[in-house]
Amino acid sequence: MATTVHEPPKSDRLPGRNGSGHNLIPAEGDLRAIQDRSPEPARTGIWIGLATITMSFAAFTSALIVRQGSAADWQHITLPRVLYFNTLVLLASSVTLEVSRRRISTYMRGMASDAVRPVSWLYATVFLGMVFVAGQYAAWVRLKSEGLYLPTSPTSSFFYVLTAAHALHVLGGLGGLANVIQKLSRSVATLRRSTLDATSYYWHFMGILWLYLLLLLWLKF
């Protein structure tokens, strides 16, 4: 069917299937028994990418801890209330993303009840993501109105740095979601399950990372 989305057909024409311990080739070269157990690269790639991002925020965290201890100028700031609203928005977007991911998976396996592509929940996720970023911007505006700018105090510096770094990654995630929507919406869909999953894991990680940062801000600020 021309409009159905398929997983890449399994055939010997496709390259690069790895040989795990299960794929040893006997000298006689009988390939029939070999099963392909390799993951799609996007699935591996996303965990690698998340490891890097984790490491970067670990570096920011140690910088924060050291900076807090290096001088007596760590000022307490009240976290703008909009941050809590933003948190709910981001968590909600993970929910909408999960709903859409499952629906799309069902659809891709040809098991959906109708032939309409389930993009609306994806649009909802993107919308909530944009609300989150706008909400973070609102938090910055709020801080500025209290006279807290980037260089004002080490506390404010880290507030802006951490939230900005996170927001930048969220924008990247929005790009990934747009990519998924675009692939799904073509006349002949070209979305792969691994791309969908990788994008979803990234987005959920943004939520988890935000919860961590919120906790850090709440504890240290």
């Binding site: 890449p8 057909p9 795990s20 690698i48 990418g49 490491m55 050291v66 290096s70 510096s157 770094a165």
Partner: protein, 597 residues
């Protein structure tokens, strides 16, 4: 049925047009060559800078004809000012560490040969791969532009310690726009390296051909894989560090700048920051970085030595586990760059212990290389010579590490030429020998032509003896207490040491000149070299199963099946004393597959 592009080969049609084929190419082989080309430009630039530095050290008041056109202020009348010396030194270090030693052995050869050696059609994410190169190129352009801005390049060294690098132009010439451009360039480089590392890891884990288990990967592939794991975590820390530095410089923050600093007659409007924080963040990256610089070369020369010796190393697994231990330990030792930095002296002892421990896997590697030579049938080509030279240099550079790993001794030797000698021998020479060896070895595959063996051997002898002449004396200077990063030597005790410096400078100029033999060989052979056979070295790994140069899709649409371990030499093969990895023949020899421990 809709034809979904396969995971790695998102370009299942050959690229058309000059731009797609040679400029914005997603082909890992083109990208590898692009990295190599960039490294070549960087290394000759860096070498030129070192010539200027060495010249100035022994003839501080002599004019260098033409230099005033590069910088009227830095070299008025062609005579290098003290600040310009430091600028040249900063750019030399930055170019060499980042754009040569991270690019050439790792990004260049790794990009070209990792997919091939594991039997893949391309990297896991070819478009990310293309982006990695062009982002690296952008970083290079931004860095070089520091030469041409007011104030010139920064003077804080490639290590860029705060607050010297953080307060801005008050701390010295070059500390204005030049330093900011440096920091921006490094931040961009981090992004590129992270994308590259991501690609290498995903490719190695997911795209191996049938029968290519992890243990059947050649040692060069293992080295690239381990290096990319290190790079993934190391550059992830340098990036935030440089961003914080940029903010201190342009946004008035005080991450690294404490209060009450009177720099250049101005009380600096910063407070509360920690200069040691920069050092910790930088060296947390910086130490793994030096292993990023040397591990690929270790893999490359192992690969070449095996082919030259016509036998596998004494233990394949021991090499792999040693490289893994080095990678693991490399994250625990960064404080050995900071023994006398003012950090808690108890921490210094804590860092010294794992630093000393690294001696063990390093010695295992060396003894295995040496022990494998015993009883081998060593056939020597230019590539072999550089591989053997690597072993000699790694020993020389490595033993001095033993001094520096001990804080008590570092009290005396820190910041002297002893340290400079140590890291030049391991990074500047040993690692570079890995690149030379790889070039002579893989040039036939990459271009379809042979390099001149005569010129290659000449290049080796001049470089091997020359680099020993340059860098061995650094250690004697260090023992005498010759301090580093000085643009001129005005200390009382330096008089008797100046003849040593003159010797070094002459050796440096001559050895540097010899590198043009290599460059000539490279370029001339590319167009006029003898046509290369498919497998000129009778080697076993997958790159030798393809035509020279390989077609755009590597294996011509077929998918290799791997039957054997990577180094079946010294066996009765159908084509000689070796059996290729993808050959279905059974090994007929006393040694069976299982003995490759």
């Amino acid at each position: 049925m809709h034809d979904i592009p396969a995971p790695a080969a998102q370009h299942h049609t050959p690229p058309q047009g000059f731009i797609r084929k040679h400029i914005f190419s997603v082909d890992h082989k083109v990208i590898g060559k692009q990295y190599y080309g960039l490294a070549l430009v960087a290394v000759f630039t860096g070498m030129g800078l070192s010539w200027l530095m060495r010249f100035h050290l022994v003839w501080p008041n002599k004019a260098i004809y033409g230099l005033q056109w590069l910088s009227k202020i830095g070299a008025p009348g062609g005579v290098i000012t003290p600040e310009y010396y430091l600028s040249l030194m900063t750019m030399h270090g930055t170019l060499m560490v980042f754009f040569v030693l991270t690019n050439a052995p790792f990004a260049a050869f790794g990009n070209y040969f990792l997919p091939i050696q594991i039997g893949a059609e391309d990297m896991a994410f070819p478009r990310f791969n293309m982006m990695s190169f062009w982002i690296t190129f952008l970083a290079f352009v931004v860095l070089i532009s520091a030469f041409f801005v007011p104030g010139g390049p920064p003077i804080s060294g490639w290590t860029s310690y705060a607050p010297l690098s953080a307060v801005g132009p008050d701390s010295g010439p070059g500390e204005g726009l030049g330093q900011t451009l440096w920091a921006v360039s490094i931040a961009i480089f981090c992004v590129a390296s992270l994308l590259g590392a991501l690609n290498f890891i995903a490719t190695t884990l997911d795209l191996r051909a049938k029968g290519m288990t992890l243990m059947r990967m050649p040692l060069s592939t293992w080295a690239w894989f381990i290096t990319s794991c290190i790079a993934l975590l190391a550059f992830a820390v340098l990036l935030p560090a440089t961003l914080l530095l940029i903010l201190d410089r342009v946004a008035g923050t005080s991450f690294f700048i404490p209060s009450n600093l009177m720099v250049g007659d101005r009380l600096q409007p910063h407070s509360g920051g920690s200069p040691l924080l920069w050092q910790h963040l930088f060296w947390f990256f910086g130490h793994p970085e030096v292993y990023i610089a040397i591990l690929p070369s270790m893999g490359i020369i192992s690969h070449i030595l095996i082919t030259s010796m016509r036998r596998p190393l004494l233990s394949h697994k021991a090499i792999i586990y040693s490289m893994l231990s080095i990678a693991f330990l490399s994250y625990m030792v960064w404080g050995h760059h900071m023994f006398v930095s003012g950090m808690n002296p108890f921490s210094s002892l804590m860092f010294s212990f794992p630093t000393l421990l690294i001696t063990i896997p390093s010695t295992i590697l060396t003894l295995i290389w040496l022990g494998s030579l015993y009883g081998s049938k060593l056939h020597i080509t230019s590539a072999t010579l550089f591989a053997l030279g690597f072993v000699s240099m790694f020993v020389s550079g490595g033993v001095t590490g033993f001094f520096l790993a001990q804080p008590s001794i570092d009290i005396y030797l820190h910041a002297t030429y002893f340290v400079v000698g140590h890291f030049h021998m391991v990074m500047g020479v040993a690692s570079l020998f890995g690149v030379f060896a790889g070039t002579y070895f893989w040039f036939p595959k990459m271009t379809g032509r042979m390099m001149s063996e005569t010129l290659g051997k000449l290049h080796f002898w001049l470089t091997f003896v020359g680099t020993y002449c340059i860098f061995m004396p650094f250690h004697y200077l260090g023992l005498a207490g010759n301090v580093r990063r000085y643009s001129t030597f005005v200390n009382d005790f330096m008089g008797p040491l100046m003849p040593v410096h003159k010797f070094i400078t002459i050796a440096a100029l001559l050895t540097g000149a010899s590198q043009f033999i290599f460059l000539y060989n490279l370029i001339h052979s590319r167009f006029r070299g003898k046509p290369a056979p498919q497998n000129p070295w009778n080697a076993t790994s997958l790159e030798w199963t393809m035509p020279s140069p390989p077609p755009w899709d590597n294996f011509g649409g077929k998918h290799p099946v791997v039957y054997h371990d990577p180094y079946q030499y010294g066996v009765e093969g159908s084509t000689g004393d070796y059996v290729m990895q993808d050959s279905p023949e059974q090994i007929k020899s006393v040694r069976d597959e299982k003995t490759l421990t």
